[in-house]
Amino acid sequence: MQYDEKRLTRIVATDCGSTTTKAILIEWVDGEYRQTIRGEAPTTVEAPLNDVTKGVINATQEMEELARLKHKNPNIKFMENGEFVIPRNGDIGVDAYVSTSSAGGGLQMMVTGVVASMTGESAERAALGAGAIVMDLIASNDKRMNHEKIERIRQLRPDMILMAGGEDGGTVKHVVEMAELVSGADPKPRLGSSYKLPVIFAGNKEARVEISNTLKEKVDLIITENIRPKLETENLGPARDKIHDLFMEHVMKQAPGYNKLMEWTKGPDLENVPIMPTPAAVGNIMQTIAKDENIEVVGVDIGGATTDIFSVFTEEHVFNRTVSANLGMSYSISNVLASAGLANIMRWVPFDINESELRNMIKNKMIRPTTIPSLLEELVLEQAIAKEALRLAFEQHKEFASGLKGMQRQRDISEAFSQTTSGASIVNLMTLNLLVGSGGVLSHAPRRHQTVMMLIDSFLPEGITRLAVDSIFMMPHLGVLSEISAKAATEVFRKDCMIYLGTCVAPVGKGKLGKPALYAKLELPDGTSFEEDIPYGEVRLIPCGIGEIAKAHLKTHGGLILDKDKNRELDIDLHGGQVGIVLDTRGRRPFTLPTEKAQRIASLKKWMRELKAYPNDILV
């Protein structure tokens, strides 16, 4: 149901994250929708409160106070007696309240398939696309013994299981074998013991009767269309929809306070607006950007517990999402240290720090996840950790986002020589048009220049790539808002949410430090120009504002290339942004940092000064 501005003049949207509940206010102001105020509070699913709505009330209360200040009106109120007043009546109440959520650990799933890299991966893609964390993939060919697989299912206690396997008319035996393992495990849900574990079967339709006979007594079995009806076809939609429905019906209700929250989310006619899993909402937005502008997009949402990466590549706008379940900036920060290693984090830190102090600092952030760095040094350290979390999550995404595996492709003669294989990653940084960052550490960096630095250092964009950031982390809110007003969601997205930071130009290849790498001549809209033969291993920042375009002539030296056609010379328009145009001649494939400590620190300081990432006094 969609409403217009006559019905929707003031909307509150919240995102109940694993650490923080974020609230935003959207108002109809001077003939347009704008995001005006934001508030946040710790999420309250834990004892003694055990009620997610308390965090919502606290965040909304903060917004009320700020709204009264902003509008110089002491009578503004969104809630009365601890509940939203809907619809709005003058200064009191709001016209709608909507919410997304990943609190309570989000949706945790296991998937099964016959061949791990085929039906198993398709099942994983469906689960990830629906906003789930995939705890494990079990397949007939995954090399574990059957009893180990059973033990694993019993240990993990997922919220639900998605079973795929077999193209239609293909193997029945192996699919039923997986069902027998699930049955043997007799899995119990993680939250609440009063309901049977939902198991979705989306495999070979010929196996449905056998599957039903094997599982119906022990689990809540739901049968839907085959996820991979043929080897060369994926049909993820029906399984994704079932996952979402079941999440709403079973899992979310088990988290403390959710029943109440589900009653709260309403439009102006008091009809319920379902709560959406946060990653599903962000995924919607990323796909909309790619389709509307017909571009290739990579988006990232780095949270406290997980880092989600979204990508839309190829002319068919193939969408992929991965969740790095234990890479995040608060609950999972310690795991970033464990996964990346201290040396990889320290390589981004432009000063010396006692190793033990750093380790304890990271652990303290893990156990007190809502704290924020108030000292500059701590901010620098957290951003160094963020770069590694993003890098690792993106590596996982690149591996996962691939063409369908197992297919026999007919190739023409040129493809036969190009060595491309089925199942290769479709993430191509050289063709990527836009890289969008979201999540606390990127959206709330005190300087947008820091966001640019983190995005470039972790994703290493190649060729020419525009960079953007979710201004204050509101993409999830807008994803769910679009369910009741696409107009409000789109207007706010364009005006207040998506902040273009600028463009990164990064020639690909290897050069020699100090030798010329890129000749760049930029004619800026204010009439000034920039011209330099930039040596290899440098970074330049040329201010060029939002909506401005610089006419650029670029020419590389020493075999470095600028685009997918391997051009070494280009005349091109470069878009500006809140930070500007970054010319990055530090090389790619491979990208390396100086190994010698003093030289590395000197280089980091030089690049950070050039990017205006931090105050100069910390970089001297």
Partner: protein, 376 residues
């Protein structure tokens, strides 16, 4: 602004505690409503399903899955012992010559026989599991077949992080001051089976000595991250703990590094020296957050079991706070005011702050996110 919500850990000399003690699977509850139980009392027990052993019987017998039915000697639900014949063929020409018998690899039960895969699932004998009360108290509710709710009146301290499971012992106060670091030399056989209280820090060496002397648990302000790694043999990636088997339980009240124990926690523990204590290190800092707990039951009567409604820890002028991030990590102060407008701090972040005052009168500003309320 007058007040704001802030997370906080509970440290109190008297609280009405309510604990659900639930079996992992349905079973038998051994106590009834109104019973007074000791921490060591077994309140419920069940039999967990045994390990499942998948067994490809058709393959072993050399027949197709659909033919299996002709040779099978068992049926689902049947109890079997090791070497029970599961299936046998009729041998050459049906005369029993070179007959193949497939025997069970274990004692247990036949769970499932599949004519599609030719696989049978055998389940090993059930495993008994008992749940203990963990804290002294009254059974105020019985959840049929699942467990009970136990209530008591206790002194109660929520830790910030811990390792190791549930244990019960006598509290032995050993720290001299809240910033004391307990030395290994102080631990001797008088500490056996005790729960010892250190001050600001406990080192790997001291923990090692404590394990050797049979200490049941250690309560400390802080611990070094690398010492935990040495003990466990791995780095803790995400804080889901409580299952470690290192010989004792450790509960940190403040965090990682050497951090002075909050005076209130220190004084409370000191006043409880010698008391029976229930303690666990279970920590889960996501999805159903769990913090380690120190429970020291008090004498009480059943009619005292009226729990206060859970309240939000509130920040307001006069509230005592603990700083939980640098600078001044671990120090205690009093809130002076809570300005409404956003303020820029040294990291250049714009945040909501509060103004507070140390005991010596020094005033400072700090992000509200970096403090926790010390609940009275």
């Amino acid at each position: 602004m007058g007040q704001a919500y802030s997370a906080g850990l509970t440290v109190t000399d008297s609280i009405i505690l309510k604990k659900e003690r639930i079996l992992p699977l349905k079973g038998q509850v051994l106590v009834k409503k109104g019973d007074m139980v000791k921490a060591e009392t077994v309140i419920a027990e069940t039999l967990l399903p045994g390990k499942v052993i998948p067994f490809n019987l058709a393959n072993k017998l050399g027949v197709t899955p659909s033919q299996l039915v002709n040779y099978i000697k068992i049926k689902p639900g049947q109890q079997i012992s090791k070497d029970t014949i599961l299936a046998e063929n009729k041998g050459l020409f049906g005369l029993g010559i070179f007959k193949t018998e497939v025997r069970s690899p274990c004692d247990g039960e036949v769970e499932n026989i599949s004519a599609v895969t030719g696989q049978i699932l055998l389940r090993e004998p059930r495993i008994p599991v008992q749940v203990k009360a963990f804290m002294d108290g009254f059974i105020t509710e019985v959840i049929p077949d699942e467990g009970v709710v136990i209530e008591n009146k206790s002194a109660y301290i929520q830790g910030i992080f811990g390792i190791g499971g549930e244990t019960i012992g006598e509290l032995k106060f050993m720290a001299l001051t809240p910033d004391d670091e307990l030395s290994p030399a102080k631990i001797d056989d008088s500490c056996r089976d005790k729960i010892i209280v250190a001050g600001a820090f406990i080192s790997y060496l001291t923990i090692d000595v404590a394990i050797k002397h049979g200490v049941k648990a250690i309560i400390t302000g802080g611990i070094d991250d690398q010492d935990i790694k040495k003990m466990l043999g791995y780095d803790i990636g995400v804080a889901i703990t409580g299952h470690e088997n290192i010989g004792l339980t450790i509960v940190c009240t403040e965090g990682f590094g050497k951090i002075t124990m909050a005076q209130k926690t220190f004084d409370l523990l000191k006043s409880l020296d010698g008391k029976k204590t229930s303690i666990h290190g279970k920590t889960q800092i996501r999805a159903g957050v769990m913090r380690p707990e120190i429970i020291i039951p008090m004498d009480f009567t059943e009619d005292e079991l009226i729990a206060k409604e859970a309240s939000l820890p509130i920040l307001e002028p006069g509230t005592l706070i603990r700083i939980i991030r640098q600078p001044n990590f671990g120090k205690i102060a009093k809130v002076i005011s809570l300005p409404e407008e956003l303020t820029q701090v040294e990291s250049e972040t714009w945040v909501r702050i509060l103004e507070a005052e140390f005991e010596n009168g020094t005033r400072f500003r700090i992000p509200r996110a970096n403090v926790e309320v010390i609940e009275s």
